[in-house]
Symmetry: C2
Subunit: 201 residues, 2 copies
């Protein structure tokens, strides 16, 4: 009984380490990479190496940067004196896409998680404290996720930043756009009721 | 509004060219590759290049090979004088895994498909003809897929090989193991009835 050549097996193995990729998908991807034109396979390999080697964390906000400081922080003097604290770099993208936020960010690259062993010292919180003072920040928007660990992180931030006397806000929770009450979980409905706003007639 | 750094965007773009990978999966995979240890990203890139550069088609049967001739064909003198004609290299793996086939293969790397513009000249059929004569083959098992294009290819092969006077068989169609009649499509049920075999009491 024969299998695939060793180098192909190795490629399948490496691909199946990627998130959400099972052995069957990895096999399909690997076979595709062997059948497609050589340039495309090479481009993928180069893109992995290049992105990995030349992308780093912004010295100020920890978002992705190709230089020392990311483009958002480079534009800092022209931006609002508001820091939005998020868990992951993809959260920055999601907020930037709305075009509604003109402040800067602070990326934690994680959240407090006893299960995963992430404590306060694993998050760049000292840097956040000194930024608030140095950049004369007027408001901190806590935009960690709305699950248990995100809430714990938000609560910890509130305690930590309290002595600084800076305005702190938490992003609103409620019904997502386009949703129907009947399909929403009870916790979200409770939050949506709690956070109701007066509307004019 | 800012997006990801260019090199990260490039990586997402390259990953989303892979089969079944949409932009969201590609983003998740790219972010993973930036967060995981550098060695793992490098191993993936190397695996792509190595597999691509050192895997070729076997000179005899067109299956994957790292040398001129694949291990299955190298073992040819000890194998049965039967060629199993399959569409894709992964079909070889699937059959080898059963451990029930002791012959050799001929991989077409495709099937006749007017839609995709694949005609008889695009498949390695001349090579198959000369193999049958040179290797003194006793039986050709046509194991192309059971859809319309696979059937057309099988039919074409039957016509093409007829003058050689070699025994030709087609793999059986019927109910897959573990299936229930109520869940099987009508075409398969018809084939299963047609191909029924007598059993002893």
């Amino acid at each position: 009984m024969y299998g695939y050549p060793k180098l192909l097996e190795k490629l399948i193995e490496e691909l199946s380490k990627l998130p959400t990729i099972g052995p069957k998908s990895a096999e399909r991807m690997a076979l595709y990479l062997l059948r497609t034109d050589a340039q495309q396979a090479k481009s993928l390999a180069e893109a992995v190496v290049n992105a990995r080697e030349h992308t780093r964390k912004c010295k100020v906000c920890n978002y992705f940067a190709e230089d020392e400081i990311c483009p958002i922080c480079q534009e800092r003097p022209r931006r609002d004196k508001v820091i939005c604290v998020v868990e992951d770099p993809q959260d920055v993208i999601a907020i930037e896409r709305t075009g509604r936020f003109k402040g800067v960010y602070h990326v934690l690259w994680g959240k407090l998680s006893p299960l995963e062993g992430t404590g306060p010292d694993d998050l760049p919180l000292k840097k956040l404290l000194s930024r608030i003072q140095e950049e004369k920040i007027g408001e901190i928007i806590i935009a960690t996720s709305s699950g248990r660990e995100g809430e714990t992180t938000a609560q910890y931030l509130r305690q930590l930043l309290k002595p600084l006397n800076v305005k702190m806000t938490r992003i609103a929770r409620g019904m997502p756009m386009g949703s129907t009450i009947g399909y929403i979980d009870q916790a979200t409905i409770s939050e949506a009721l709690e956070g109701r706003r007066e509307v004019s007639a």
